[in-house]
């Protein structure tokens, strides 16, 4: 929730006027199949931000299929039964034939003549990147998608005249995705994994933090997927995963821009309303992570400069402590006068950088994380100890009321800036709706932050930011 820490009111204001105005501008409704739509009309230019939020991410995976939610996001750009192919009737049996061979080979694509022939026939019917090309031709801007631990989101900005096209394109890929070019794209995802994690010391350290802090919960699994799993994933597994999670009740449409409500209601129902409800499934929640009873540490020996990450288990919304952590984050690392920068970097000169965040997702209890880089000559142990001392000092020298109030004002201004962007606002609304069941959770969070007291912040130190609840991971530089 730290990213939304920004969204808070000035002290003494139960609800700032801008937020009240926003509340009055947000239109939300459900389509006949249960898909939720959030819409804010904003007529700065004849454009809109269109976002699809799906409640599926890394926490919905198990070992063996790690990375499948993110991989599915890639595949959603490969087209549908009418886009990306010259002849789906001809293509479908070829895809099935290829899939049968790969499944028989435990996910490996054999280098056989049979495969080569199928591949050649498929290439004849494929229309490469047609999905993206249609958007590009319509004048799209920032066409993208993202997958986190908690969600998958498909985002784009388009001229308003292309709204019906957007409805048609997005509904089609939600309802009728075709996983063509699956095994070529698997290589691309492996490329992404190598550049973002395998060859990236910070990426590897982050994975180590999650693997050490979480012992059983899927929070410990990498969203990008393990190399071993990715190399064996099949289109068949993806189809099963898609059918399990891509269902109307898991989908939120978030729209901000120069559109009319009537048009939004009519066209979303016409296109997205075709997504049939799926048979009810019993949602199996992951087993909660066992309570951590003693501190953990792990290191990564790699040719890189030293870094240290400290993580403490913490609750997420609806627990009010989540909002208190948002305030703590602001006190610790929002601005140059915040405690971590001013004490560790500026005054004592033991760190080159130090900042806080939360990871890896928000649907389940997560970690409050502090990342820091020591100055040469300072050990990561010393820096980690000093960070813990800084947190403990919140008990002996608590933040003043003025410090707390300023943190809240910073958050309020950040919130206003968020509202200054179509896509920023669409993201805040869509994410809250899909993760917490209502975009109004945004407002509840502000109320919680506004109500946060000095004692609430101190209770975090007492209850959560303890050495026994802490995981420390660090880089041990290795000479290259």
């Amino acid at each position: 929730m730290l990213i939304l820490l920004c969204l808070v009111f000035a002290p003494g204001m139960a609800l700032c006027s801008e937020l009240a105005e926003l509340e009055s501008r947000v239109q939300s409704f459900k389509l006949s199949n249960g898909i939720r739509v959030i819409f804010v009309s904003r007529k700065i230019a004849p454009i809109f931000s269109g976002q699809i939020w799906v409640k599926v991410g890394g926490v919905d995976e198990q070992p063996g299929i790690t990375g499948i939610a993110h991989f599915l996001e890639h595949m959603a750009f490969k087209g549908t039964k009418v886009t990306g192919t010259k002849d789906y009737q001809k293509e479908a049996p070829l895809l099935a034939q290829l899939e049968r061979i790969v499944v028989e080979n435990q996910g490996v694509v054999p280098e056989s003549d049979e495969v080569r022939i199928i591949q050649a026939k498929l290439e004849e019917v494929w229309v490469d990147n047609e999905f993206g090309k249609i958007y590009t031709q319509a004048g799209s801007n920032r066409l993208n998608a993202m997958t986190s631990k908690d969600y998958t989101a498909y985002v784009v900005r388009l001229p308003s005249v292309a709204f019906e096209l957007w409805c048609q394109m997005e509904s089609d890929r939600l309802i009728n995705p075709v996983f063509r070019q699956f095994y070529q794209e698997r290589e691309v995802v492996l490329e992404e994994r190598r550049s973002g994690f395998d060859d990236n010391p910070s990426g590897r350290l982050y994975e180590l933090l999650l693997q050490t802090a979480f012992t059983t919960h899927p929070q410990r699994l990498p969203v990008i997927g393990s190399r071993e799993d990715l190399e064996r994933l099949t289109a068949t597994q993806m189809r099963q995963f898609y059918e399990l999670h891509y269902r109307p009740e898991n989908i939120v449409i978030s729209l901000v821009g120069d559109l009319d409500l009537v048009q939004v209601q009519k066209l979303t129902e016409r296109y997205f309303g075709k997504f049939s409800q799926r048979a009810h499934r019993v949602h199996s929640e992951p087993v909660p992570e066992p309570i951590q009873r003693e501190g953990r540490a792990a290191s990564l020996k790699v040719a890189a400069e030293p870094q240290v990450y400290l993580g403490w288990h913490k609750p997420t919304l609806p627990n009010p402590a989540d909002a208190h952590f948002a305030v703590l984050h602001s006190l610790l690392s929002d601005g140059r006068s915040s405690r971590l920068f001013s004490n560790l970097v500026d005054r004592e000169k033991i760190a080159l950088s130090a900042s806080s965040t939360e990871a890896p997702g928000e649907r389940y209890p997560n970690l409050f994380v502090i990342a820091a880089a020591p100055v040469p000559g300072v050990s990561v142990d010393r820096l980690a100890a000093r960070i813990q001392k800084e947190l403990d000092s919140l008990l002996s020298s608590p933040p003043s009321e003025a410090e707390l109030a300023e943190a809240k004002k910073r958050s309020r201004i950040s919130f206003l800036k968020l509202m200054d962007s179509d896509s920023g606002l669409a993201t805040a609304l869509g994410k809250n709706e899909v993760l917490h069941g209502s975009w109004r959770e945004l407002i509840r969070l502000y109320d919680l932050i506004e109500a946060t007291t000095v004692e609430d912040v101190q209770n975090l130190v007492r209850n959560f930011l303890t050495p026994s609840n802490r995981t420390v991971v660090y880089i041990v530089p290795e000479k290259s």
């Binding site: 319509a138 004048g139 990236n200 004002k409």
Partner: protein, 497 residues
């Protein structure tokens, strides 16, 4: 009858669901570019203003016509701009200044580009006057606190060390040395020795010469009315450059390694001439930096046309077609989609001041580096013989036309674009005439661009990764393969034919 109706309805729905989105006819995107109010302050600062009452915020961006290409001392301009913000002012220590800004939830931050720099300000409308007053003190009375300068140097030293953790950064810096012979503003990146040379006295000198209101452009947008803004700016910033006595003199050069020619009195186009022209090394071939990365970074490039190239709009269209059009580009289709060789690949022509560059970057696993480079060179060769079909060219132009509105998506975007246009010396009607000129681009224009500028045998190709030189020599017969050390000075590659 009811059954017939249902049958017809189903038939209709089936037809709807199988309709291709591309078959939808889109109306033209109609919009007009907002014209900012414009005036010149008494000290010479040009103000561009667009009112925006949606939120109680005011944002400002002060552009200064000085960038890294004007200053031949690596790191000096970055240090100057950063320390004007974080080094405090005469009346407030750095910590007091930080505290004041954080308490107001306001921000003032500096940034440095190749041809211009800027300070951005943002605050609640009620605090804007106070923020301007603080900003005025930063502009006129920077203290350049020594401890903050040392912190900046330590952080940059760390960043220099961390370059070796990122193959993309290593490839980009090596490319600069392999591609250009000079001047140093093109070839050299910040090194520890440069940091050691930077001191407070040097910053003060640079400040006196480079931070001047002449040629500066201030863009303001937010909930404030023009008369109030005019009054506020004169009151708060009007004395900058006048009362301080630091009015810069024309045609002065800094004696400590800074050379900013004529910025104080020059027009935009005069200023552009002050940027030195790069000298190309013109030693094509493959430059290998061996580093322990499984995922190699590749940067490849050729000299390209300048910003005043008559076929400028052909370059925009060519980029969209060949390399920067996202899902539509030739490179994305062939390298990522068909071959699965790279997660990211792209680039294109970047017309610069006096000259330009055509550059492509990608990341790929080490055992496919040769295949990826070979494929790109093949695609370049093909682009010189055949180009976008008439239909494809029409589609590309349509996409540029429909997406043009996003350059003006907000008031701030409109103002920033106008400031950049002026600072980079583009003609006054650049935006108004842009689409007409794009529409006029022909297939012959695209072919001409490729034939004139994309000679596959002239590429400078940098590879960073865990790959043997022998493999590259074998893969590219007849091409010089140079194994070089990262950041070695001077840049003398070992040649292998």
């Amino acid at each position: 009858m009811r059954d017939l109706f249902i049958f017809l309805l189903l038939a209709f729905l089936t037809a709807c669901s199988s309709q291709k989105a591309s078959e939808l006819q889109l109306a033209p995107v109609e919009f007009s570019i907002a014209k900012p109010s414009q005036w010149q302050m008494g000290n010479g600062v040009t103000v561009l203003f667009l009112e925006n009452n949606e939120l109680p915020l005011v944002e400002a961006e002060l552009y200064l016509p000085v960038g890294t290409l004007h200053v031949d001392s690596p790191g000096l301009l970055d240090a100057l701009i950063s320390q004007m913000r974080s080094g405090g002012i005469r009346s407030l220590t750095p910590q007091q200044l930080d505290r004041k800004l954080d308490a107001l939830a306001a921000s003032i931050e500096g940034s440095v580009g190749a041809e211009f720099s800027s300070f951005s300000l943002a605050s609640h409308k009620e605090d804007f006057s106070e923020i301007l007053a603080l900003f005025h003190l930063m502009l006129t009375e920077p203290a350049f606190n020594l401890a903050r300068l040392n912190l900046w140097k330590a952080q940059n030293l760390d960043a220099i060390r961390r370059r070796r953790e990122d193959p993309q950064t290593m490839a980009a810096l090596t490319f600069a040395k392999a591609f250009y012979a000079g001047p140093a503003v093109y070839t050299d990146s910040l090194m520890p020795g440069d940091l050691h040379k930077l001191d407070r006295a040097l910053l003060l000198k640079a400040y006196g010469r480079l931070i001047t209101p002449r040629g500066a452009i201030l863009c303001v947008t937010g909930r404030i009315q023009e008369p109030e803004l005019r009054d506020l700016l004169e009151k708060r910033l009007g004395t900058w450059g006048i009362s301080s006595g630091s009015k810069p003199t024309a045609h002065k050069r800094m004696d400590a390694g800074v050379s900013l020619l004529n910025s104080a009195v020059s027009t935009d186009s005069d200023l552009i001439k002050t940027i030195p022209k790069p000298i190309f090394r013109e030693v094509p071939g493959v430059y290998l930096v061996r580093a322990p990365f499984e995922q190699a970074a590749v940067v490849m490039g050729l000299p390209g046309p300048a910003r005043d190239f008559p076929g400028y709009h052909s370059l925009s269209v060519f980029n969209r077609y060949f390399s920067s059009g996202g899902f539509s580009s030739v490179l994305f289709n062939e390298i990522r989609t068909k071959r699965g060789l790279a997660y990211s690949v792209g680039g294109g022509f970047a017309p610069g001041n006096g000259t330009g560059v055509f550059q492509i970057g990608l990341g790929t696993r080490v055992n496919q580096v040769s295949a990826a480079i070979t494929e790109i060179l093949t695609l370049v060769t093909v682009a010189r013989k055949e180009t976008a079909s008439t239909d494809l060219l029409r589609e590309i132009k349509e996409s540029i036309e429909r997406g043009f509105v996003f350059n003006f998506a907000t008031q701030a975007a409109t103002l920033d674009r106008e400031a950049a246009r002026r600072l980079l010396g583009f003609p006054e009607d650049f935006d108004e005439s842009f689409l007409a000129k794009v529409r006029a681009v022909t297939e012959e224009n695209l072919l001409r661009v490729a034939v004139d500028y994309l000679d596959p045998s002239r590429f400078v190709i940098v590879v960073v990764g865990d790959i043997g030189k022998e493999e590259l020599v074998k893969a590219f017969p007849g091409v010089e393969v140079h194994e070089v050390q990262f950041q070695d000075e001077p840049f003398i590659p070992n040649r292998t034919k």
